[in-house]
Symmetry: C2
Subunit: 366 residues, 2 copies
DNA sequence: CCTATTACGCAACGCTGTTGCTAAATTCTC
DNA sequence: GAGAATTTAGCAACAGCGTTGCGTAATAGG
């Protein structure tokens, strides 16, 4: 729910989000921590903390006795004050996770989906799986919604699946509406890779710089986090990183072009030459760094994590040797900290982000 | 000057910027236009318009008599209420332009720079050129500053030129400070391509979507406008689009990698095969669309504009045939509307944007 | 026991945009 | 032609935000 106009409620949400971002990244914090990190006055911090405490989002956690003066009250996030459920819809499997306000994964389960599954079959699987998660827990009033990370193309804004790649029954399916009606919970729909990079950003709080999450899993995609928010592009279609040409006049790709990163990579991988596949991927990653100048590269996806070390090594080497002026061009390369859960967990965090993250200010319409 | 905390002055700046963005894109507007475009209440629009009128930024321009009811007052931007000077520093030339609040170019002049010029020589040329522009005009109180668009790499935030490509005397030069002291005006320093794309965005007002400006001029670069703001990356180094590999094991590039877009393109161009050079560039453009899903592609740069039509045709064709699902994936391809002035004009508009554009809200420090 | 220091809240304030209402200017209707 | 209807736009009071000024509580040191 983007707002177009900026009113005082935006201020409230914005400054509260700053405090929550600090709370996610540190075990405990004091008012002075917030003052320093945000630039707010102590009095403003008092008011923000009072509101967050009233909502049960943060709580006191003792006092600090540093020496002279009145001891400072120590606060901490209340991780189990809010939850969200995340779903990763892949071609053959549905992964469901339960994530708390701090971004920790409390439950993870994978179930198979029927071959060429229909929207109805997915809705059924979602309800069954979510029922299993909520059955043993008392989440009343604390479950903020369900996030769905799915293969595209889709329309994030309208919650519409346009044409899920390789799934025949998915053409212009209003999945968000259907799922909200079927589940009785707010639903957020996004591309899998975009959800994934949100997971990394959310868990790092407010200091996470421009980043890409590279996902290799029956196809190669990239999720972007730019300028403190997910980058989806003009039609929610950003991230088709696998379909960038790295070899003019190379082998024909399913997308119709020649020499796409994905086809070149996959041929090497299918031939068992993981080292070469990793090097090809690394060339693509360096292309992204040259284009976008990113601070973080996160590697994910089942087909990559199966050979995590060779991939990590190849990308790290390329990043450190192929990008000139590496003294100030620092970019860190990591594996996804959540492993195979990253997409589903990120989808859940997108729901949390809508409530407790930095509010959006939409630009003009039209 | 990014602010970390959100206070009421942010609201004022934000909503004023929305109105100004409307004012730039239409000849005249009414209060109801603003209400519809922004979602503000009529009363809030009254207050915003009163403030902008008091500052001389907008003025009444008659009334509209549509039929029944009290006639609506028509407003317009006052283009000559504010100016900014823009400089495009290239390897051998300095281009200076005078731009008004609406983004119109009032004056444009190119002067040669000495071979391998020094910072002092550039400062001298800037002062001379700016003196010539201001001499015949009364700009007192209306000149907001000077924007400099320059080849990188540089550090936008600190106004520091790290290592201007191919210029020996430019290593860690604090150009912004030097120029502010030398010229007595606020100075904004940015990469040439980022300034360029700002020109396109500023002139289109608040409805300009994600975009890239491709610049071919002794090198190939790209300036990005993403999510309503310029994307500079983690170290102001985004845009090295020419150094993305499109031909694995291709010819060696100056950057140390093989098969970069720039070297492949330049070889074709040097061989006189403009059609092939344009097709190679188009492959790179489609790569960007696949990665970032952009709404606008703007072509610029002296070496491209010399053969504008072949380039435009090749890129348009590639965008329309190589990107699948073109029915909803609409991307427009245009030549820079300002031609050779685009970089300098964009640098000037960056200065205007800092004052009258959407204010930034920085994330947490640290 | 007094003082310095640090933490933190209360109260008043200035500034947003919002809400409720009134006034002005025009066309339409009888 | 006079009153009704419609549209525009401002005035006044209000709520909510962060800010400023100042008072109070809690600790250590002398």
């Amino acid at each position: 729910m983007t707002r177009t106009t900026a009113d005082v409620t935006f201020l409230r949400g914005y400054n509260q989000a700053l405090v929550m971002a600090v709370g996610r990244t540190v075990p405990t914090f004091e008012r002075s921590t917030i003052v320093q990190a945000t630039g707010l006055t102590p009095q403003a911090v008092s008011k923000v903390i009072a509101r967050l405490t009233a909502d049960g989002l943060i709580r006191t956690a003792g006092v600090r006795r540093p020496g002279i003066g009145k001891p400072a009250v120590v606060y901490e996030l209340v991780p189990d004050s809010r939850y969200a459920i995340g779903a990763h819809v892949a071609r053959r499997t549905l992964r469901l996770v339960l994530v708390d306000l701090a971004g920790a994964v409390h439950h993870s389960a994978v179930s198979p989906l029927p071959d060429d599954f229909t929207p109805q079959q997915l809705l059924h699987a979602l309800r069954t799986g979510i029922g299993a998660i909520t059955a043993g827990r008392d989440l009343r009033g604390r479950l903020t919604g369900v996030g769905i990370g799915m293969i595209g193309p889709l329309d994030h804004e309208h919650g519409l699946v346009r044409d899920a790649h390789g799934l025949r029954h998915w053409h212009d399916v209003p999945l968000r509406e259907l799922a909200e009606a079927h589940l009785g919970l707010p639903v957020h729909l996004d591309k899998d890779v975009t959800a994934g990079v949100t997971a990394e950003a959310w868990r790092h709080g407010g200091t996470f710089g421009d980043a890409v999450l590279i996902m290799v899993e029956s196809g190669i995609g990239g999720g972007f986090w730019l300028g403190g928010t997910a980058h989806r592009g003009a039609h929610t279609n950003a991230g088709e990183f696998g379909h960038t040409v790295v070899e003019l006049d190379g082998p024909l790709c399913v997308c119709g072009r020649h020499g796409c990163l994905e086809i070149v990579h996959n041929r090497a991988a299918e031939a068992g030459d993981i080292a070469r596949a990793a090097r090809v991927l690394a060339v693509g990653v360096v292309n992204l760094l040259q284009t976008l100048d990113l601070a973080h590269v996160v590697l994910a996806g089942a087909d990559l994590l199966r050979y995590a070390q060779p991939y990590l090594a190849a990308v790290e080497e390329a990043v450190h040797t192929d990008v000139p002026r590496a003294d100030w061009l620092t970019t860190d390369v990591t594996l996804s900290s959540l492993g195979a859960d990253v997409i589903a967990a990120g989808a859940a965090m997108q729901v949390l982000d809508r409530h407790y993250g930095v509010p959006e200010l939409a630009l003009l319409q039209g």
